[in-house]
């Protein structure tokens, strides 16, 4: 590497820190959407770096479906205590109890979609004018066109056809009262960058990202964790398997992968080979993962 040339991870980090500071400078009440997944953990790590030695100048906002992995919630609470950061929680259960949204029924019932209402309510209640999210442009075609500073109208809607041009790093966060922004500091990161960065920075992540034994069951070729939130069909029999999670959503929609990867290096190798497999036996896994990502996106972003 040239003396005055950054590695790709350092350049991405620098860009993300710049974006986070720009959010802090341009908005009055930003909040960082925190799911306990790797992307939001990386965003929080970047925020700590951006403002050190001061504390992160905005709270975390967790949209809680009530269907969490215990490990994720424990991780969240430990992190909040360790860094003394404020945690706001928007509860989907509360939205259901108050009759604002209706619980889905059936075997495929999920609270993912219900999160939208809870998120928007939390944004209103806490007067959040910019919700920072860990979404990435490599995740999906529509996301490939998302702005770093993304405008939302007074109904919280995104108008992809009518986005503001974003030129250089001159981000425009001007808005009318009632409108808000979403900001995506790791827009330009890929899944691989996130894992490599977690390794480089030795960032702690929930244990369920690593291979572990778990009671699971199969549905449509997807491995699901068996939990009280899932209604099993008569032919679905739980069994124990070594799995890990590639992404973490709520338990009703997060598929596991059959994986022995128990270190970050092994996960990186696995992600790399997943990309290079042109036709593999894990086809179904991958397809379901893409679908899972989509559902997650509908919920959060």
């Amino acid at each position: 590497m040239h003396a005055y040339r950054l590695t790709h991870l350092k350049e991405l980090e620098s860009e993300s820190i710049y974006i986070l500071r720009e959010v802090a400078a341009q908005f009055e009440h930003p909040a960082l959407l925190f799911s306990g997944g790797k992307d939001s953990i990386v965003c929080f790590h970047l925020a700590r770096k951006a403002f050190f030695p001061a504390k992160v100048p905005f709270p975390l906002l967790h949209v809680d479906t009530g269907h969490n992995f215990t490990e994720t919630i424990e991780f969240r609470d430990r992190l909040v205590e360790k860094y003394g950061v404020e945690l706001l929680v928007g509860s989907v259960q509360k939205s259901i109890d108050e009759g604002k949204v209706q619980e889905e029924t059936g075997f495929y019932a999920s609270r993912n979609k219900l999160q939208i209402a809870t998120l928007l309510e939390a944004i209103e209640t806490h007067k959040i004018d910019c919700a920072i999210g860990g979404a990435r442009r490599d995740e999906e075609k529509a996301r490939a066109k998302e702005r770093v500073f993304s405008h939302r109208d007074e109904f919280g809607q995104w108008d992809p056809k009518n986005q503001r041009p974003e030129i250089w790093n001159l981000y425009n966060g001007r808005k009318r009262p009632g409108e808000h922004f979403r900001a995506f500091p790791i827009s330009n990161w890929t899944e691989m960058d996130v894992w490599q960065y977690i390794l480089q920075e030795q960032i702690e992540i929930p244990s369920i990202y690593f291979s572990h034994e778990r009671e699971v069951f199969l549905r449509d070729g997807v491995i699901y964790a068996n939990s009280p939130f899932m209604r099993l069909k008569p032919d679905e029999k739980p069994f124990t398997m070594r799995v890990r999670f590639r992404t973490i959503g709520d338990m009703s929609c997060t598929g596991a992968v059959d994986s022995p990867a128990s270190t970050l290096e092994e996960i990186i190798e696995e992600v790399a080979s997943t990309r290079t497999t042109e036709r593999g036996s894990r086809m179904d896994d991958k397809r379901s993962e893409a679908a899972m990502e989509d559902r997650k996106k509908e919920g959060y972003f």
Partner: protein, 421 residues
């Protein structure tokens, strides 16, 4: 951990200009496919679609088909960003549609690019849009331009066709300010000279496109001479441990800042020396573009967002009257003598459009002195008067301190990108 190659890669951002007809999506598809950045499900969908169309080969342009379908529905899609990596580099493609809103989109994609790929159809030679793309790449200060003469398979891989187009492009480029021009004969469809060397063009001695992308020297693209640090945010922890700490957070926009060296603060003009530089918790001896750091100074000086910390011997220009090349990006045309909000580095101000000097015919590079109506996708030279002085460098000297945007104060939309002359 240090031995892991992927922790030592760098990043190249490039933009692709050209229309679908030039084979742009096929080229991007080829780069993604051959660098294995495509997932099984995506590839299978393309294979299925190709089979449906009855073509024998996998049609790689279908990888970006989602975009094209949207375009066919008349949706204005702007730049789409795509990502791939080889063992040497990580790449970010700003993929800009060729026809619709071309100036607005290409300017956006070009603003952050190190390199532009401009596609030329070998059968058609230089088109109006080729000149346009080359001009915008030059105007936006992209240091490296690669002309890919595509569809060589359709002209029998004929050397004279390639040479004629190269000659024409070189002639046109004398009017431009691009430091590094490259010409590669390719067939994106057949894969010639994209990732693999063509066996059908022995007369071509240069590298493949992928080799060039992986190896082109980009370390010298940033200005490491003139020290520029726009202050983005002031960090004051006010805790017991960091009681008196006042740090200035920002991204280095030029030059190399070193601990112990003297600096000047603008606009106040006060001087001090750098006491410390930090990236997160880590103290570092120096900082350079584009690092995001926190600096502390030896003296207590009043500094806030929008100020600039600079070296003491190469100061930026300071003025309230600036000449800019303006790319207009909004349906509502520029209002002569109109007032706009302006963002330059971390500084926010207001400005008035004092004068439109001329509009550019971006196809011929002629100055249209009589035509001063600047509308969507137009480029023109204007004089702005700002409410506060700006500390700037000419755009050609520093893309970070020479760029600005205008915002419509009524709609809050970003309406123009400006390059300070």
């Amino acid at each position: 951990m240090e031995t892991k190659g992927y922790l030592n890669m760098d990043l190249l951002r490039f933009t692709t200009a050209g229309s679908v007809d030039d084979g742009k999506s096929t080229l991007i598809g080829r780069l993604l496919y051959d660098s294995r950045a495509i997932f099984d499900d995506q590839l299978e969908a393309v294979e299925r679609a190709s089979a449906k169309r009855g073509s024998g080969e996998v049609d790689l342009s279908l990888l970006t088909d989602g975009l094209r379908a949207e375009r066919e529905q008349g949706i204005t899609i702007d730049v789409a960003y795509r990502y791939f990596a080889t063992p040497k580099r990580k790449f970010i493609i700003a993929d800009t549609p060729g026809h619709i809103q071309y100036t607005r989109n290409m300017v956006t994609g070009a603003s952050t690019a190190n390199l532009a790929i401009i596609l030329v159809d070998a059968r058609k030679g230089i088109q109006e849009q080729t000149n346009r793309h080359a001009f915008i790449a030059s105007l936006l200060g992209i240091p490296h331009v690669v002309f890919c003469i595509n569809k060589m398979d359709l002209v029998g891989y004929d050397q004279s066709v390639f040479q004629a187009i190269q000659k024409q492009l070189e002639d046109f480029s004398t009017k431009l300010e691009v430091r590094d021009l490259n010409f590669i004969p390719i067939s994106a469809l057949k894969g010639d000279n994209v990732v693999k060397r063509s066996t059908r063009m022995d007369w071509y001695q240069g590298t493949t496109l992928m080799y060039l992308l992986e190896n082109i020297h980009i370390a010298g693209d940033l200005n490491h001479i003139d020290r520029r640090f726009p202050v983005q945010h002031v960090i004051r922890p006010m805790t017991r441990e960091w009681h008196d700490f006042r740090g200035f957070a920002g991204q280095v926009a030029g030059g190399i800042f070193r601990v112990g060296e003297p600096v000047e603060v603008l606009p106040s003009g006060f001087r001090s020396t750098i006491r410390s530089i930090r990236i997160g918790q880590q103290e570092v001896p120096e900082a350079f573009a584009p690092q995001s750091v926190v600096m502390t100074l030896a003296d207590e000086i009043d500094i806030s967002r929008g100020d600039m910390i600079t070296g003491t011997n190469s100061l930026p220009q300071t003025a309230q009257d600036v000449d800019v090349m303006l790319c207009w990006m909004n349906q509502r045309p520029l209002v002569p003598n109109g007032k706009y909000a302006l963002r330059h580095t971390t500084r926010e101000a207001r400005c008035m459009v004092k004068e439109v000097a001329y509009k550019m015919d971006i196809n011929t590079l002629r100055k249209l002195e009589g035509d001063k109506a600047i509308g969507m996708n137009d480029i023109g030279r204007v004089k702005l008067r700002t409410t506060v002085p700006l500390h700037f460098d000419p755009y050609t000297r520093n893309r970070n301190t020479g760029s600005l945007i205008l915002i419509d104060e009524a709609t809050n939309e970003t309406v123009a990108a400006g390059m300070i002359v």
